[in-house]
Amino acid sequence: MKNMLLISLIILVYSVSSPVSAKLSALEKSLILENGIIYRPLAGSSATAGYGTIINPTDEEVQIVGIEAEGFKASEIHTTIEENGLMKMRRIELIPISAKGRFELKPGGNHIMLFDSLRAFKSGDKVQVTFKTKKSKTALPFIITERPTAEPVSHSHH
């Protein structure tokens, strides 16, 4: 919870640009992350999830087409839906965020799914997650956080 308060508003740290995206306005390459957390991977599971709010502060729509998270073998944006009494996860391959709009990542709904951690994580570690649009990439820092009631064990890395 302390971490949640500390990261109540985390602003874009850096932006990686291609020659093409260099022609874009600075604002178009910017995204803002609020309350970005990734739950520390639990022992026994190779997958975990991240949550927060992605804000598009620009005057134009942004379309996220993929993500990359350092420290994990693969990462994707998923959504959880309830269908005929079953909870299902579906990958989202394109996320439009309208001008000045927000995209919520929250438990039981949209989330970033992270597979196969490449190193051990502890609470408070930062994980840079790069959000890719068709024109640019923006890295946003998520904070590793314990699940609300998870009891830490000594062998969290696989």
Binding site: A43, G44, S45, K73, E76, M89, R90, M113, A150
Partner: protein, 174 residues
């Protein structure tokens, strides 16, 4: 293409009756009636589930943490992984124990898992998902079944998101 479908039709049935069942815990045979307590909470999912399973189990864990020691001695929480092809039994046991040391992570053969799914109407579907790095997806019920000592279903909590709801359900049946 569907890799496996587990008892979709049972989703349409009336509330399940339940009963005794056999699974495995940490690769060892485990029978409900030999370990059951006065009240037993039963949940199905899979350990690579990043969202719903840990969410529900965290909520249940928060409820358990509010129980007195005497109450805890009368209640168990059982998590069954329906994904026997990818979740190793020892990983299932370890995974569940991190939410509470009293939580048991159970596995089983496909026949055992399907028997239990049928017993409680705990539907699941495992299907290929070529769009995801995982390569497959597991759709499953998000229900906590409250069972008596004989495994009979007393109550079902759907989409448990409030620890107080679980706590109230437990205490009213102890």
């Amino acid at each position: 293409m569907c890799a496996f479908i587990g008892f979709v039709l049972y989703a349409q049935r009336e509330p399940p009756v339940g009963g005794d069942f056999s699974l495995t815990f940490n690769n060892r045979p485990w029978k409900f009636s030999e370990h059951s307590k006065k009240l037993n909470l039963f949940y199905t999912g899979y350990v690579k589930c990043p969202d719903v399973c840990p969410l529900t189990m965290s909520v249940a864990s928060r409820a358990f943490k509010q129980l007195t020691d005497e109450e805890k001695s009368k209640v168990s929480f059982l998590f069954l992984s329906v994904d026997r092809d990818h979740d190793r039994p020892e990983d299932v046991a370890t995974y569940a124990s991190q939410f509470s040391t009293s939580f048991l992570g159970l596995s089983g053969s496909r026949d055992q898992i399907d028997y239990v799914s049928r017993l409680f109407g705990a539907t699941y579907i495992i299907e290929d998902d070529p769009k995801s790095h995982l390569g497959y997806g597991v759709s499953h019920a998000d229900r906590i079944y409250l069972l008596n000592k004989k495994g009979k279903v007393l109550y079902v909590i759907h989409f448990a998101r409030d620890p107080e709801q679980i706590l109230k359900a437990i205490r009213s049946r102890l």
